[in-house]
């Protein structure tokens, strides 16, 4: 035991002496790791090992081995990798590091069963990342949608704004369950985000509730064709908001002036057009 300690200490001293050369060498290996990943999977430095994941030549065996890496950074990179299998992701879903579990939650290969488990994670960073995944079971989203927590709903709606299919599925479910108020609240909140998917805004521009259409009319990311439709909306407050939308083109305004029956709106449109022409 003592001999082992002596040898370890001597080796430690030797390594300390060679430390500067090791550091230089490490960066060379780091540069080469993405080119020849096979040589660096079991490298001593975690940054070199993580770099091998950038290569197209990475094998599934290598991914499996790196999923058990001692460094959470490497494991998180495996969890992000598009070639990582659902089996490996299921293993990584139990990782103690937040960043690893979050990456699993966002990976498109993660199975719905694992996503259900991750949706119960104590850390919100992991839990809500599930909503970024296209495989997320809609039942989870429905549960969050009806949650009393404002924070949960706000995070959910923000993420839904980015994912048209998920949003669509949840909206259909709410409609099927006749939860109209919740659905309208969701649509209204999602329509506020300028980062919202254009297809979502397009859908919502035809929403029966004028409050939702009003949000779409105010959103500067709303596509021009939707604004054109909203310019002819039955609700005058919606038509009025289209005028003040920064994305509304001169052509839309000219069309509004030509067709608008409400004199006040017409005047507002004319003023805006003049302003734009100036």
């Amino acid at each position: 035991m003592k001999r082992h300690k002596v040898l370890t200490t001597l080796l430690g001293l030797l390594l300390t002496c060679c430390d500067s050369s090791n550091t230089e060498d490490m960066w060379k290996r780091y540069a080469n790791a993405s080119l020849n990943p096979g040589n660096y999977h079991s490298d001593a430095h975690y940054l070199v090992r993580s770099r091998t994941l950038l290569s197209d030549k990475i094998s599934s065996q290598a991914l499996q081995a790196l999923a058990k890496d001692s460094s959470w950074y490497v494991r998180s990179k495996v969890a992000q990798h598009e070639k990582t299998t659902p089996q490996i992701l299921a293993l990584l879903a139990k990782d103690e590091q937040l960043q690893v579990r979050r990456a699993v939650a966002q990976n498109g290969n993660t199975s719905p069963e694992v996503l259900v488990e991750l949706a119960k994670d104590p850390q919100w960073q992991v839990r809500f990342a599930v909503a970024d995944n296209d495989n997320v079971p809609v039942s989870i989203l429905h549960e969050w949608c009806t949650s009393p927590s404002h924070f949960t709903k706000k995070e959910l709606f923000y993420r839904l704004a980015h994912h048209y299919d998920t949003f669509r599925k949840l909206r259909d479910l709410l409609d099927n369950k006749n939860e109209t108020a919740i659905a309208e609240k969701m649509c209204s909140e999602v329509a506020r985000y300028t980062c919202a998917h254009p297809e979502i805004l397009r859908d919502l521009s035809k929403h029966p509730n004028y409050e939702v259409r009003l949000q779409v009319a105010q959103n500067s990311s709303t596509p021009a064709d939707c604004l054109q439709d909203l310019a002819k909306d039955e609700d005058e407050s919606v038509r009025s908001e289209v005028i003040y939308n920064s994305s509304t083109t001169k052509e839309i305004l000219e069309a509004m002036i030509a067709t608008e029956e409400d004199e006040d709106i017409k005047e507002e449109a004319q003023d805006m057009l003049d302003e734009k022409e100036e």
């Binding site: 003592k2 200490t9 959470w72 937040l98 919100w124 404002h150 924070f151 706000k154 923000y158 909140e189």
Partner: protein
């Protein structure tokens, strides 16, 4: 002595070395503030309470300077942070992208803008062009120090590799500890080899014998290995103070060896030579161990440990010196009989003349002592670890840069006793929220992090979205407050673990690096604010900055106490062993003279009182008194009347050893002082070099004047009439 016995002694020595080598080389480095923690009851109790209630981890600040703040660059900065901090030893990190809900990130980007984001967050993760993360490390262990070292090594690569970033700054108490560790390792990597080469050359020049060199090195290795082995086995770690133990062992062992070797050459017989120096060396070991042992009165733990283990080591040195000569030297021989060193080439006659100087010259050391006392009392003190490094050292520049642009990285912890219960009840919450608000307005306090901050942040995260409209929680209803706490616990349970325990509510304060005067002012203001809120119990005040200031407070106290005990016990022992009460006043002036010179050197070199200077005085006294003992011993050993004969004999017996030893010690300490850029080591080396040379001067000038005046009867009973 029988060759077989010599062989047995030699083998025993080798076996001892083998047995202790493993624990000796396994001793680890640790320079955290906790290592220097003051041994006071209140400080210990506060620290213990903190450790019982909250996880003991340590926060640092990692700041990435971006060319421009935008979403893409922020993502790059986060990626760099993840790559840097994914080291074993890092508990977690807090950053904008990790801690801020994406919906709020979007809100900041779209509505508020990155430049104003710091007002919205718990900590200014984004400010100007800086993306900052709080990196939390494990408390006070090897993994922490390794992780910090690895992060520091990787930083230059990331600066080169990513075009989006212009610099990375890393600061905080654990980072300072890491740099302190590196600097204190200079003793091992630079000074020790230099010392060995320097002393080997001097030894070879004096004795011209390979045998002497081997014997000397064997004794030193034996003393080093056994002393450090015991040090390691007792579970101690090395730091910037205790790193000096091996150097001191080396120096003290060399000094003792010099006296023995010169005695061996004088008597031309091992046993007689060893016997001649047995009593003076025993007395030297006793007084030196008392000199170092007196450091044990210090409340600063490393000074206590230095005192304790060096005083033990002195006896090990004493034993190994004799064991080496009774074993190796008798077995293999030293080949030194024909080297007549005594009296050759040394200005003994000129030195003798110094003893003839007028008694009035004693006023010089007396004046120096008075001047030294004044200097020490009025000298400023410094215990901020950052100030130990040169002005342009990375850690000083980084800390100053972060303090100027983002935050102070000195930590204060306030623990407020709270009513029992899982969640904070309404009245208590209002009290702490108001208290925190007032704390933030105090000068030097940059940020407070607490449950309240997270609650307010969580509230902000939902504002503008929902039917919940109350932004100010201090006026919210108790139901709303409880709902917000429940939501926070549901989403981030770790925040409750870190900031609320069953009995205490924790406020973590980040403040500027301030001196003790400003700290005490700040503490009084905090006390006054706390009193205003009328909490039902007193709060606990602790944290890194508090510990550092306490160390500073105890420095001067340690210095005074340890010097007092060293002088007292050394003089009592000398009196007892030399059986002469007059030794007390005869020895005190020449031996306080070097201490006074060192005190004046503090002013000359413009050194503040630091953890490095505080112990040199008693160490210097402990070493300086050695030569006096040798001179006294020979002086009283000659049974002939008259000062001149006695002093001549004493000089003949000792002057070569004193001269060479003083030269070795002066040279060694001067080298340490000149080679280091690390303030405590520079101070230690230069002041002890001054101490050694002035101790030598005191012994050859003021000691004989005192002895002459004594023998003339001016100080006490007249011994004889001879004046010179």
């Amino acid at each position: 002595m029988n060759k077989k016995i010599a062989l047995a002694v030699f083998l025993l020595q080798i076996i001892t070395i083998i047995c202790f080598v493993s624990p000796a080389i396994s001793v680890k480095q640790n320079n955290s503030v906790a290592t220097f923690m003051v041994n006071s009851v209140v400080a210990k109790q506060n620290d213990h309470t903190f450790a019982q209630n909250f996880p003991r981890d340590e926060t640092t600040v990692l700041c990435i300077e971006l060319n421009e703040i935008n979403r893409e660059n922020i993502v790059v900065a986060e990626e760099i942070i993840e790559q840097l901090v994914s080291e074993p030893g890092v508990v977690r990190h807090h950053s904008f992208l990790l801690d801020t809900p994406p919906s709020l990130q979007f809100q900041i980007d779209e509505q508020i803008g990155w430049q104003k984001s710091s007002e919205e967050l718990i900590f200014p993760f984004i400010k100007q062009n800086f993306y900052t993360a709080l990196v939390v490390f494990e408390h006070d262990n090897d993994r922490q120090q390794n992780a910090i070292g690895n992060i520091i090594h990787k930083i230059p690569f990331f600066i080169r590799h990513y075009a989006q970033i212009s610099n990375i700054h890393f600061a905080g108490e654990p980072v300072v500890s890491y740099h302190l560790g590196l600097s204190s390792l200079e003793v091992k990597t630079k000074f020790f080899p230099t010392l060995i080469v320097f002393c080997s050359l001097v030894m070879f020049w004096v004795f011209r014998s390979i045998g002497v060199l081997i014997a000397w090195l064997l004794a030193i290795v034996n003393a080093l290995v056994v002393s450090m082995g015991i040090f390691g086995l007792m579970g101690n770690s090395l730091n910037l103070i205790t790193n000096l133990i091996p150097v001191l062992i080396f120096v003290l062992s060399t000094a003792m060896h010099m006296h023995i070797l010169l005695s061996l050459t004088y008597f031309e017989d091992y046993i007689s030579g060893l016997k001649e120096k047995l009593i003076p060396n025993f007395l030297v070991a006793l007084t030196t161990s008392i000199g170092f042992g007196s450091l044990m009165v210090s409340n600063v733990k490393p000074i206590y440990l230095l005192g304790k283990y060096t005083s033990i080591s002195v006896w090990i040195i004493f034993a190994t010196c004799y064991i080496t000569h009774l074993g190796f030297s008798l077995l293999f021989g030293l080949n030194l009989y024909k080297k007549k060193i005594h009296g050759k080439g040394l200005p003994q006659d000129k030195i003798f003349i110094l003893g003839k100087l007028n008694g009035g010259w004693l006023l010089v050391p007396i004046a120096m002592i008075a001047l030294g006392v004044v200097t020490v009392v009025y000298n400023s003190s410094e215990s901020n670890g950052l100030k130990y490094f040169p002005q342009h050292h990375t850690i000083r520049e980084n800390s100053a840069y972060i303090q100027k642009n983002i935050t102070g990285s000195s930590g204060i912890e306030i623990l407020i006793p709270k009513p029992q219960g899982k969640f904070l009840e309404e009245n208590f919450y209002r009290q702490v929220a108001l208290f925190e608000q007032q704390l933030k307005a105090l000068e030097h306090i940059r940020h407070t992090i607490s449950l309240n901050q997270y609650l307010r942040f969580a509230t902000k995260s939902t504002i503008g979205f929902s039917e919940y409209e109350e932004e100010d929680l201090t006026i919210a209803s108790s139901t709303t407050l409880e709902t917000m706490q429940k939501q926070l616990q549901e989403n981030s349970p770790h925040i409750f673990t870190h900031f609320v325990s069953e009995n205490y509510y924790r406020i973590q304060i980040l403040c500027n690096a301030i001196g003790s005067e400003h700290f005490h002012q700040l503490k009084s203001k905090i006390n006054a604010l706390y009193a205003q809120q009328k909490f039902h119990k007193d709060f606990i005040f602790t944290g890194t900055l508090d510990q550092v200031i306490q160390i500073q407070m105890y420095l001067l106290q340690s210095m005074g106490e340890s010097l007092f005990f060293t002088v007292l016990f050394s003089l009592i022992l000398m009196t007892l062993f030399l059986k002469n009460i007059h030794v007390i006043y005869l020895a005190i002036i020449p031996n306080l003279f070097p201490i006074a010179c060192m005190a004046c050197a503090l002013k000359v070199f413009d050194f503040p009182t630091t953890i490095g200077t505080v112990m040199v005085f008693s160490i210097a006294f402990g070493i300086a008194v050695d030569s006096t003992i040798h001179l006294f011993h020979s002086f009283y050993r000659l049974q002939q009347p008259g000062f001149a004969k006695k002093w001549s004999y004493s000089l003949a017996m000792n002057i070569s050893a004193i001269w060479i030893t003083s030269f070795i010690l002066f040279g060694a300490f001067l080298l340490i002082g000149l080679l280091s850029s690390f303030l405590p080591t520079t101070q230690f080396g230069l002041l002890l070099a001054v101490g050694m040379i002035s101790a030598w001067f005191g012994d050859v000038s003021f000691l004989p004047i005192s002895l002459r005046l004594y023998t003339q009867g001016l100080f006490g009973k007249e011994k004889n009439n001879e004046a010179s």
